[in-house]
């Protein structure tokens, strides 16, 4: 398994574990009482699962499994794939930190949240740029 694929998959697994742990904490807080910011993080936890775990796992496996872009560069243009990994995780992390902080007190956390959204969008753009040429039929045999 390629290094970048391992990064994608392992990071996705980390997000899964953290999201499920937060979800458990939320459920417990809803049952026995807990800090308001935790209970208000419902959308955040859903995005940790949907973006950090599921979407990132898909991107990693696609990077691993999709057809070769060309014989010379089977994995295609790697820079957008690597950038997508960094942008997605930094963007999601900013959201996870900023969303509850915004609910608690506002301040500059609105800007952090907005930047987090932009970074995740850039990550999606990077992934599409990387994988689009690999959505193809089999390479033709050389004459």
């Amino acid at each position: 398994m390629l290094p970048l694929v391992r990064l994608y998959v392992r990071t996705a697994l980390l997000w899964l574990v953290i999201a499920m742990a937060l979800g458990l904490a939320q459920a417990f807080a809803g049952w026995r009482g807990g800090p308001g910011w935790l209970i208000a993080m419902r959308a955040t936890v859903w995005h940790m699962l949907a973006v950090g775990w599921l979407n990132q796992l898909i991107w990693g496996v696609a990077h691993w499994m999709f057809p070769a872009a060309s014989r010379e560069q089977p994995r295609g243009w790697l820079a957008p794939a690597a950038a997508a990994y960094a942008l997605l995780n930094v963007g999601l992390l900013l959201r996870v930190v900023a969303e509850p902080m915004l609910l608690e007190g506002g301040g500059g956390w609105g800007a952090v949240l907005a930047v987090g959204g932009v970074l995740q969008w850039l990550a999606a753009l990077g992934f599409v740029l990387h994988i689009w040429p690999r959505v193809r039929g089999p390479l033709r045999r050389r004459a």
Binding site: A50, A98, W109, A124, F127, V128, V135, G137, P138
Partner: protein
Amino acid sequence: MPALSIWVARSALLQLLLGFSLGALALWNKGFALVAWPWRLVPAHVELLLLGWMAQLAVAVGYWILPRRAGQRPRAWLAVVAALLLNAGVGAVVLGASFGWPGAVALGRALELGAVVAFAAHAWPRVRAAGGT
């Protein structure tokens, strides 16, 4: 990758970008409130990413990867129907949810149901052991 998988995967990738665009807009608006309408796009954001991106990519890859029978993909027409219905359904739900047309949402869900039934009917016989009949 067969031609149908290529087209369906490309459609999924475009819906990934569109879904993330709506999500980024909504998240920006949460940080810096611009206008009220981005919140109306959240259902469209969810539909595009769960159905338009993830489910559709699964259809594309499943059609490509699942075991074939003597090198053929039996009843491939069902997969074509599934792809068409899925995209039409997502489109109807996105428009209906964004503009407040519940009839369009219901129609979209019906089309999506047709899509998954068609794909399941196509894929079921291909879910078998290697070398199995």
